[in-house]
Amino acid sequence: MKKDHRIFWLHSGVVLRQLSRAPENKKETSRKVDTRMEYLKLLGIVIIIVGFALKLDSILIIVAAALVTAIAGGLGPVELLETLGSNFLANRSMAIFIIIMLVTGTLERNGLREAAAALIGKFRGATSGLVIGIYGVMRAIFAAFNVGFGGVAGFVRPVIMPMVEGAVTARGKKLQEEHLEELKGMAAGMENVTWFFGQVLFVGGSGAILVQNTLAGLGYEVELGSLAAVEIPVCVIATTLTIIFYYLKDKRMLKKYD
């Protein structure tokens, strides 16, 4: 894959700008559609939407959509296989997650989760909303390094929720049911928001590689480092926003105890 170096980093590493813009010739080729047969090509998209919405087997949906689209697009059997084969090859970079697994399991075996629990445990004494906020910061930072601690099942339920509940009961109050329900929702929400927007900061994550390869198929070459840099402000804003929102919500609910 030949990469050009159109993109350079400004000192901060955050702001980036492209010197030369993508090819302009796309416009001409993209609008000569007149026969009704052309609409058959949309069957693949219909299969994807309906298939995922009905929760059919994901791989079956994708294979079916690819086959149908190829046939509707007039690709012969050999062409279809060649398209599939060459594109699978072009997308091999996505398999990088496999080599990362070489250490993921062994890190867990060597006490990564316990270390993470000890790290957040240092903040015992914070209020319930603050504990969730601190977890959000920790989760986002580690997500940027592609490090997870076990999600809701492996970390939020066994480590975070007891801390959050303890933060209320330690002040001599009985946790109100409605408050507990919201705390659970916020802990899971923090988990999701910070994981989604944090993982895109990892250079080599599946999301950015998928974007890179989709754009490459359309004729635009982009670098993984630049893709991650674009997401830095997004992740910071999303994490900060969620922390503030949940903190205020928790504070409002804590008032009900008085």
Binding site: Q18, G44, A53, G74, L84, R109, K184, V203, T214
Partner: protein, 317 residues
Amino acid sequence: MSFFLDPEVTMSNKLMEMIYIFIGLMVVYTAVKNLRDKENPSRIGTFAFWFILGIVLAFGRWMPSAVSGALVLLMCVPAILHKVKKGKTDPPSKADTQKAYEAIGMKIFIPALSIGVFAVGAALTTNILGFSALNGVAIGVFVAGGFLFAFDRKNTPVMLLNDSERMLSTVGPLSMLPMLLACLGAVFTAAGVGDVVASLVERIIPAGNVNVGIVVYALGMMLFTMIMGNAFAAITVMTVGIGAPFVLAYGANPVVVGMLALTCGFCGTLCTPMAANFNTVPVALLNMKKQFGVIKNQVPIAIVMIIIQIIMMIMLK
């Protein structure tokens, strides 16, 4: 062999090819381990899936593309028939991990963070050192492995391989989803699906107005993701059909627009029960009373974030 000796091929690409061979062999190891595992309820199907995948990953470059295409289709058969299963795995017990934590402690974060550090390091120095970001990921993995071995001699290469087999078998064929979706996107492009979608959308939104294109692309990503429950599936369709013809074709920055479109999709993921793993499974895991208790706490964030991202796309395009 000629590939590795060819002076025209960059060092980072040669290294990448070696990484693919290594990954392929890891996957073949998973295949063979499961074939010999009497506790695996579907040894042949599991073996077939991982073995074919490993061969295509490792040696695909040297095969005619029609052959690798046929192998990819063949590999999907046991996956579709649900014949790819997990065998006997040896997960660490609570006592094991607690003991390891007491011995290693916070130092475990060094190998955990090294992969990301090397990836960023390689990405920032590509022009000087010549390593690509993904080269950096792989180098970071080996550095992490070295640290783990230094901490505890039980963390041998065999232990690493067996633990990676456990992870790979646990996620199963669904781990191939992003890769297959990317292939599907390419098939869409080859068949001209983007042109058809563009010709339809053109009747509704005015072509040539990049800002309108960006808004439709971003909201479309969110909506499609809500319907499908998967932003990765949405991004291929939306980029080929809307992003490329209505936004990128007019010179918008593909780095900003393409990448933010994905996280616009994530805003959709935050709002939909279709993303069961994130939004409904936690409700059960945490014994929550309200079925939408998690989603309700995420919707305000998603709305603000989609607006912020649309503004970013328009300003930075």
